[in-house]
Symmetry: C2
Subunit: 297 residues, 2 copies
Amino acid sequence: MSQTLKIVLAQHAMGDDAQKNLETSLELIGQAAFAGADLVVLPELHRTPYFCKSQQARFFDQAEPLDGPTFQALSNSAKEHDVVVVGSIFEARQAGLASNTAIVVEKTGAMAGHYRKMHIPDDPGYNEKYYFAPGDLGFEPIDTSVGRLGVLVCWDQWFPEAARLMALAGAEVLIYPTAIGWDPTDTADEQARQLDAWRIMHQAHAIANGLPVVACNRIGYEHDPDGGHHPAHFWGHSLIAGQQGELIAEANDQATLLMGTVDIARTDQVRRAWPFLRDRRVDAYEGLLSRSLSDES
Amino acid sequence: MSQTLKIVLAQHAMGDDAQKNLETSLELIGQAAFAGADLVVLPELHRTPYFCKSQQARFFDQAEPLDGPTFQALSNSAKEHDVVVVGSIFEARQAGLASNTAIVVEKTGAMAGHYRKMHIPDDPGYNEKYYFAPGDLGFEPIDTSVGRLGVLVCWDQWFPEAARLMALAGAEVLIYPTAIGWDPTDTADEQARQLDAWRIMHQAHAIANGLPVVACNRIGYEHDPDGGHHPAHFWGHSLIAGQQGELIAEANDQATLLMGTVDIARTDQVRRAWPFLRDRRVDAYEGLLSRSLSDES
């Protein structure tokens, strides 16, 4: 028995023209559907350049409500092409409150659900705590006609806790829209270690939870609007991993539609061989709810 | 500033003669110390063949107390060679109660501490739940003259929770004595996926926690004492990974002293760049204490 899901990751670059970026995404959704996709995933914050490189109040003008223009466009496209779409928006919630939100659009064009990024980064080039409140919806999978989707966003990928909670809640596939790249001033060795670490974390979430994992990353070189201190070279390398962490497909750093088929039914087989969910020591995990168990005095 | 630690993993095979196995371990500790090791790690249950391939009451005769002959021998060796040793025993606690226990021996020959394997496997060829009660000491690092050691054992390696709890408790390096191998009847592809997954999980613990990780595995082909249904080909591939998951050293499937130097002080640098501990959503992790968040009705 198998229950296959054909996933297409629309890895692309974003320029200064938000409308043009959106049209590129829509064009790629159409191509993906033509290629037989059941599910199309877009990169994180795919409507605009990655504005979090600097802290500028004017960028809040780019925020939009859940049912704003990005949803409307994705909704029309999902319905036209009969495909489920995972998109990503800068969500305006009320004055002074915004989130980094993934939206899942059903084949009917309806909103299947949304996920607000729970782990928010804040480091040079990725000043997200300035723009986004921490997610307040928890780790809840989103039910769709193609399965129960464990949608997480970028920085969440470094936290095994997030993947595990989605798995425990019944997610059938883990999906990460991402925007991660190299600091061009880092050495080649450092850049290689970072990309390897990123790939390994996604594979590890697959292994630890017996689930397929996909990540759709941005590509392209984006200047720092503050004047060049923190440019980013988004590294692409979107990937599709199977339940044992094996790579089914991986992109390079160029624009691409990355296609791969995962077999949702294989999760049960893999978990019989590797019954990690059976053996978790839930009686001994309380420390996970602490920030630290060894505060230095 | 650096604070280096030279680690040697004594990857070797075990035969039917327990005394000879122990002598091999002692010989390797001496060689490792001669090569400059600060810390030597032995494989899981290094005194005997991996008896958990079958359920036989007579094998409980092999269990020994914490301060039994294995500790005594390792203690003498650690003191003679001025090195910290991580060993592994089948611990007899009282009639009908045994554990799979790692012991850490100080350079003075004293017991620095012990860890009882928390996650116990139970699948064909690895019938550990028959022999070992689940560990009851939690995830507590062990302080030694060469650092605060986060000692875990084999099956623990598949649980990000265990690595995280050791990291939160201040472990400076994660250490896994292991006994894992291929089922010779599996396909070459399946065997490759399993070994890759094993390596990836260790690398992921390093990345997610910004800690060096080492695993010392058994090698060799061991027959099933029940008559051949579950032989194991222990795959070796002991490894030393740095704080970004980068492989510092990895063995093949032959006997070896695998040497590598980790820089404990680098943890602070890596965690400044990747501040995952800062951003954990401890307010939203309560579900990790549940077996399932999606029980099927």
